[in-house]
Symmetry: C2
Subunit: 192 residues, 2 copies
Amino acid sequence: MFDLLRNYIERFTSLPDEDWQLLLPHLLRKDLTKGACFSREGKICKEIGFVVSGNMRHYYTKDGEERTTYFYFENSMVTDYISCILGKPGSLTIEAMSDTSLIVFPYAILKSLYNQSHAWERFGRLLSEYLAAGLEERMTGLLMLNAEERYAQLLNSNRQKIIERIPQHLIANYLGITPVSLSRIRKRISKK
Amino acid sequence: MFDLLRNYIERFTSLPDEDWQLLLPHLLRKDLTKGACFSREGKICKEIGFVVSGNMRHYYTKDGEERTTYFYFENSMVTDYISCILGKPGSLTIEAMSDTSLIVFPYAILKSLYNQSHAWERFGRLLSEYLAAGLEERMTGLLMLNAEERYAQLLNSNRQKIIERIPQHLIANYLGITPVSLSRIRKRISKK
DNA sequence: CGTTCAGTTGACTAAGGTCAATTCCCGTGG
DNA sequence: CCACGGGAATTGACCTTAGTCAACTGAACG
């Protein structure tokens, strides 16, 4: 099963077997039931996860309201990377939306791998670059587009899984609007 | 003068002299006059810059309108990093707000340094992490705060240079609002 | 069947934008 | 020294977008 993670990593950069062996002994399987949290606002996130099956979302809270900014599906990494990097309490909560199986390992291990091997350092660079590119796209969407345009962008993007598998009120939340507004937007679009 | 850049890099990670020597021959000085662009929307950005003196801003455009999302002052790196990383045309324009002196080098060189040296790879990782952390903070500000809260956040942040040296209509733009709105917000705050 | 929860719809509200007029500040030329 | 011109900032009147609240519909499930 751990090979799923290895394949994922190799999509970023090739990883000699000896490097993989450095991580392997630290991998654990972890199962979360629906609604359980992988990481919580206010806690320092110390683990990296990899979703084997199930799906998750992460959200920020303000005045008790949730703002979802990411959905995780099988075959992707999950962590409050900013909290890991900065070693500070995160502002993010990551929650299993269904029963979910993960492979996990401590961020501290990844950090020590950075020292032990250039290949791991490279993986860390590429992962951060990938994250930054994603964040930038997200930010420009919020900055440049109104609600209807953001919805249209989502429909035209390669995020099919979100449209197919996420209930509408969470999609609204992800777009930064209320379910009521999304319903109206959909009505407006369908009239065209 | 190039030592300014070296000092900047060493704030991320220590860099043995032999590694620094790999970059040194590729450094150039570049001067931009007020209003000149370092990188343009629609062009692939192939250079990394370091501001020796002067200041710059970067902005996105939508329907001919500019949205400023970053100001650069002396002693900081400047580039459309996302365009560099992805090797795609950027959606960002970076413009000198005053006559500006830069140290520049090709991104391709940095990329080759990643292959040549673990220390440079580490720098690349830390730079990307730093960028991601900044983007995340910016995104959450846009997502979670209204205009007045964003302005208050700016005032309470360690971005003094922006408040002191940037004209109000560009601060408004940076906050994602019109100069008219910022003026009203300031009035509201001053009444308290 | 009734309960529950997602989604839809209507009426009203709030935040911020638009447009236009006015004022302020500052540099330049007479 | 004063007058003028131009851009930045302020202010008022009005508009647009999305949020709020509440009522209603509809499907899923015990």
